[in-house]
């Protein structure tokens, strides 16, 4: 319903030529925020119906992951982190990555999963991939609390100022980081199903390239800077400043991460806008 909340005199045009390439129409997304909420709400409800453990999974997942990584990388491979237990260090990274994995998975297949709707109802297509970014935030919230407790229990220090200022910034950067690829790839999946397989594979690979199981400062020389080209590195750096009082990444490193995330997001949104008119015909 593209006409919702518009003045009566406005004509809604569906023409053979699309509008400007750079008209990103973010206002349209804002107007349909309630629909995004309902899609997200649906996915959360569906996930917890008939799931015995329900929200407990959000607790179990990062804990089991962090324990495994602590055994492999800390006990077996001997990686140490200065001033904090390895367990607290790694869990603060894995909760972020759990979000990346979940949001990338549901986000890239969001249009395909709702194919029937795309071909039968008119609503802003952008709402679907954006809504898919939301349910994971609940698990991320629970995960962050778990990481915080882990940090305190293992004798780490927590910066209260970092928690209220830097941590939220880290969450925002993380969401923008994921939003870019999700928009670009969800539109590609409409045409090329193979992309879903590539995403699963890609997310696994990037996990090891992101400083999650090791600190970025362990990387030799210029490689540390290169690592921050991956915006997830900047986001996790910010989260860790809040959770385990790790040193804030340098301004340059943060600017690099944030810059890449925003540019990728804008380019992806442009690409999404260029293709959304064809979704109903191609899917």
């Amino acid at each position: 319903m593209s006409a919702v909340n518009q003045p009566e005199s406005d004509w809604v045009v569906n023409g053979s030529r699309r509008g400007s390439r750079f008209d990103l129409r973010l206002l349209q997304l804002w107007r349909h925020r309630e629909l995004a909420y309902f899609f997200a709400d649906r996915d959360v409800r569906v996930r917890y119906k008939q799931a015995v453990l329900g929200a407990a999974w959000a607790l179990i997942q990062p804990l089991v992951g962090a324990i495994t990584f602590t055994i492999i990388f800390n006990r077996v491979a001997g990686i140490e982190v200065e001033g904090v237990s390895y367990f607290a260090f790694v869990i603060s990274g894995t909760v972020a990555w759990t979000y990346v994995t979940a949001a990338m998975g549901s986000g890239t297949s969001s249009l395909l999963y709702n194919a029937e709707l795309l071909t039968k109802v008119a609503f802003p297509r952008l709402v679907l991939p954006v809504a898919a970014l939301l349910p994971g935030l609940i698990d991320l919230g629970i995960g962050l609390v778990v990481a915080l407790v882990a940090s305190l229990v293992t004798g780490g220090s927590v910066s209260p100022l970092g928690l209220v200022t830097v941590l939220p910034l880290g969450v925002v950067l993380l969401v923008v980081t994921v939003a870019g690829p999700v928009l670009f790839l969800s539109a590609k999946v409409v045409k090329y199903r193979d992309v879903i397989v590539l995403v699963t594979f890609g997310v696994q690979t990037v996990f090891f390239l992101t400083p999650i199981t090791y600190p970025a400062s362990d990387l030799p020389g210029a490689w540390e800077t290169v690592a921050y080209l991956n915006p997830a590195a900047g986001a996790i750096g910010l989260l860790r400043t809040g959770l385990i009082d790790a040193d804030l990444p340098s301004a340059g490193q943060l600017a690099l991460s944030a810059g890449v995330a925003v540019v990728v997001f804008l380019l992806s949104l442009t690409s999404f806008r260029a293709h959304e008119r064809e979704f109903a015909d191609v899917i």
Partner: protein
Amino acid sequence: MGAPVIQMEAVGKRYRLGEHHGQGTDLREATARLAARLRGRPAPTRSEIWSLRDVSLEVREGDVIGIVGSNGAGKSTMLKVINGITAPTEGVSRTRGRIGSLLEVGTGFHGELTGRENTFLNGAILGMSRREVNARLDEIVEFAGLQTFMDTPVKRYSSGMYLRLGFAIAAHLEADILLVDEVLAVGDTEFQRRCLGKMSEIGESGRTVVFISHSMESVVRLCDTAVWLDKGRIMTHGPSTDVVDLYGRSSAGPEHAAVSLERDESLATQIVGLRIVDEAGASITTLTTWSGAHIELRVVVVEKMAGLDVGIKVKTPGGITVLEEYVSEGPPIDLSEPGTHVVRVALPPVLAPGDYSLGAWLGTAYEEIERLESLTSFRVEGSDNGCPDRLVRLGLPWSAVEHEPPLG
């Protein structure tokens, strides 16, 4: 006449075959095309089909307009372009006001969610705010008749309940323009009646309705104007009775009045033949206003079936049922025994001149086995005696009751 609310200007929609309803393209095909392009050869092209071509149409506020045409004529594509689901390849379509659509109701329901949860979700998908849905929830629930099932997951619903909830939500959207696609073909008779009632109510309330239907009867009854689409082009646009009449003439030629049907192995009992015969028993396709004929039905009964009944239905091209007669309405005829039964009904010369379609029905008091609408057609020739509007001339008996000569 109201202000225009839908304007289509020279709209064309092209589909590449294999793309429409397809499973998308895979990378292999894309790579093959890229490789061909790199080698300087033309990429393998796919055949195309124009689902709509050069369609221009203006619909004004308060119009109730019907779209008729055979399958694949572009009716659904037209609604999709108006709705904005798909973009035209050429031309432009504009709409003004909120569009509600009944293109397959219940789309977007999730089986795991309850009726109530689905109502809010579906409402949001159709463009209603949470507050709007809340305000209409009682009406929606009552219209759907699902008061006690709103907290049940819809996967436990029967298909009828599912449909009723879907229709109820869509029908309670305060839309300025309502698009309806053949939704009335489903559901039980009672529900169909309520749907039609709701639609005419919407039409009478001054909102605009665009209605696709295969039922000429509904189009004539509900719509003031109609458009006949054929192969993506507009053939006629005008008063619905005229358009339906023209469309009916084109699709029902008088050349096949005798029909024999393939045996459908899944049916134990079925109609295998239908024809019109003259007094001498020969098949005919043309009747006259002065001589009678018989309609003959051939029915195969495999297993004994008590209370078996057959009937015929004669309709005008406009979809108005003129005659509908069943064996059970006359003196008893036993059709229950296995074998082939041939039954005839006499058709006195009562039909007005014109074209008619002939259908047949088979079933019992409890069950419909076959409903064959417009199976064949025939023409009645002769004079209308200057009465073009009447459908039948029964020759009802007149008699002189009294004559008082003038006094003096």
